[in-house]
């Protein structure tokens, strides 16, 4: 099912030309510009593959290319991340069963055939942090190469229909989808060279300079050369253990946003949300805007973690939030049909007799994110654990440089926070990188200091307190 009417987004303007793909031989109508898994979901197909050991059906989970829950065989090639691979007319798509071999006649891309690109700064990730880093570095005259594995620029902003907080100069009061457009336009205007559908797979030292190796559309190798690298790879969704948590229809909150807000596809008819942090309550509001019924939000903590105002928005629309409740299991035959929740006691144990059963076709997990640090780790940057920043994070200094000279970090990949802080960190990383590669005058320090001050101010309230605690564990003091 596709969404036609929406109070914020006009999908008719977004959809490309109609194309036909073949799912297990059956023709499916899709639109150019949308990924395979999303098109299949619109056609009612939720099972994308079967697990290796027990052949359990699996469906989408993250929908941004990070979790491997959507791997399918596309035109004979297995392990294709169908959530970020765009449909093409005539494409053949099959469910993958466990691990499947490559076709016999498959020719792997050769290193010597890699397309080479040269710049001053290579940025990995085109979300709020990466785009802002690119804009600021390019403004100073640095040649910036920006790569992102998604088909659209903007990172997670592209699916945020709500307005952001902060100050107006930091885009407060502007919807995420609009901020994404503004940043993407600004990056292009400043001459940032953009490579979409291109996944970075390694960062290497190349005689004192940096080499980022990447693969475009699963087949073409690229080399990106520069003197500095900014990693702004964002985050991925966490999963929690419960019975049948792999049933198709148990989706990460972000996947639901991708389906409905990026591609205009109805995620389901009735949704239970697990987690009342900002992501969970914002998702509830967005589902309501898309005309989808939200039966409840359950939250294990005794309090709602989201900003109160976000929670108040969904409460006044009649969506209940049950604190001290958790999900016990998902039920259904090959897909989610029911969710069973229960109240928990002080020791986090379900209280017998408090079970509630909801008839739902989607269970949304909004149980937190963890920083995507794989590339930073591979590049040799020092990693440390900071619970307050939601997991393992890279150590960095005030200019967002890691323990590897010339390797910078910004945004959620440096600790889970907000788009506003991601943009400020991106600004700092971009300017600092431009300074390092000799493209910015020393006066740029004033701009860096201003952004550092803005960050400090943003984090000075109760919500910033735990971030500051986490940063204490992470910061390298010169």
């Amino acid at each position: 099912m596709r969404l036609e009417e929406h109070p914020v987004i006009d999908f008719t303007k977004r959809r490309g030309k109609k194309v036909t793909i073949y799912f297990e031989g059956k023709p499916i109508e899709a639109y150019e510009g949308e990924p395979i898994a999303e098109a299949l979901h619109a056609a009612g197909i939720r099972v994308l593959n079967y697990s290796t050991e027990k052949q359990r059906p699996r469906g989408l989970f993250c929908a941004i290319g990070k979790c491997s829950s959507c791997l399918m065989v596309v035109n004979g090639i297995p392990n294709t991340r169908t959530c970020i691979t765009l449909v093409e007319d005539g494409m053949r798509v099959e469910r993958q069963r466990g691990s499947q071999p490559l076709p016999r006649d498959y020719k792997a891309p050769q290193w010597k055939e890699a397309e080479k690109h040269y710049g001053d700064i290579v940025i990995i990730g085109g979300g709020p942090a990466g785009l802002m880093a690119g804009i600021k570095a390019a403004e100073k005259g640095a040649k910036v190469l920006l790569i992102d594995e998604q088909p659209i620029l903007g990172g997670q902003l592209v699916k945020q229909t709500h307005k952001f907080f902060g100050k107006r100069e930091q885009f407060a009061g502007v919807r995420g989808i609009k901020i994404a457009e503004i940043l993407a336009d600004e990056a292009k205007k400043n001459g940032v060279e953009i490579h979409l559908e291109t996944s970075a797979i390694g960062i290497f030292d190349n005689n004192g300079e940096k080499l980022v190796v990447a693969v475009e559309k699963n087949k073409k190798l690229h080399e990106f050369h520069g003197k500095a690298v900014v990693v702004a790879t964002g985050a991925m969704e966490k999963m929690i253990p419960f019975e049948n948590n792999d049933l198709p229809g148990v989706y990460g909150a972000g996947a639901i946003q991708t389906l409905m807000n990026t591609y205009g596809i109805e995620p389901g008819k009735r949704v239970l949300i697990v987690g009342a942090g900002n992501v969970g309550v914002i998702l509830a509001y967005q589902l309501k805007q898309a005309g989808v019924n939200v039966v409840a939000i359950v939250e294990a903590m005794p309090r709602i973690g989201a900003y109160f105002v976000h929670a108040a928005k969904v409460r006044r629309l009649g969506i209940p939030i049950y604190t001290r409740h958790t999900i016990l299991r998902a039920e259904g035959d090959g897909k989610v049909e029911r969710a069973v929740v229960a109240q928990i006691d002080e020791n986090w144990q379900p209280i017998p007799g408090t079970e509630k059963v909801y008839d739902v076709d989607v269970i949304a997990l909004a149980v937190g994110l963890r920083p995507s640090i794989e590339l930073l780790h591979q590049a040799g940057a020092q990693i440390t654990y900071a619970r307050e920043l939601s997991g393992y994070v890279v150590r960095h200094d005030e200019r967002m440089e890691t323990t590897v000279r010339g390797l910078f970090v910004a945004g959620d990949s440096s600790g889970i926070e907000e788009a506003t802080t991601a943009m400020l960190e991106g600004k700092i990383a971009g300017l600092s990188a431009a300074l390092l590669v000799g493209k910015a005058p020393l006066q740029v320090y004033d701009e860096i200091k201003k952004a550092q001050k803005d960050l400090e101010e943003f984090r000075s309230g109760p919500f910033g307190k735990h971030i500051l605690e986490g940063l204490k564990k992470v910061m390298i003091n010169d």
Binding site: K163, G166, P302, R315, R316, L317, G318, G461
Partner: protein, 166 residues
Amino acid sequence: MTEEYLERGYLTLEDLKEKVELPSEERLQSKHPVAVPECPQRIPCTPCKEICPVNAIKMDNPNDIPVVNYDKCIGCSLCVQICPGLAFFMIQYKGDKARVTMPHELLPIPKRGDEVILLNRKGEEVGKGKVVLVIPREKSVGDTPVITVEMPKELAWEVRAIKVVV
């Protein structure tokens, strides 16, 4: 100070009185509506203060809660339009009726004169009201449609959303 509202996800009128001082009866009856923020928690957010044309909103640090000087407020609704948390409302008494102005980001957008169902802070239906003013999205500085609904006066401090019946 009670923080139970963080467990419930909505404010009671008692919470509101405790956390946000309410405008006087006299101010509520004046010829301009008055803006009331239902924003009791310290979060980093300043658009209301920045957009107010008469500097009626006090907030020294971006993490402070907004405090409206009700005598300065001219009832222009810009704060209702811009507030990212959809937490600003305007109230005005007119005889035995009250007019409540609120953000409305759902379809359908009602028209002037429509009868709508009134919802309280926990989404319960508490009565019916009449739409007297609609600021459509394209005319709103914050990209959020804003509607003003007339209702019995005693509902003015309860109703914070509407349901449009089609």
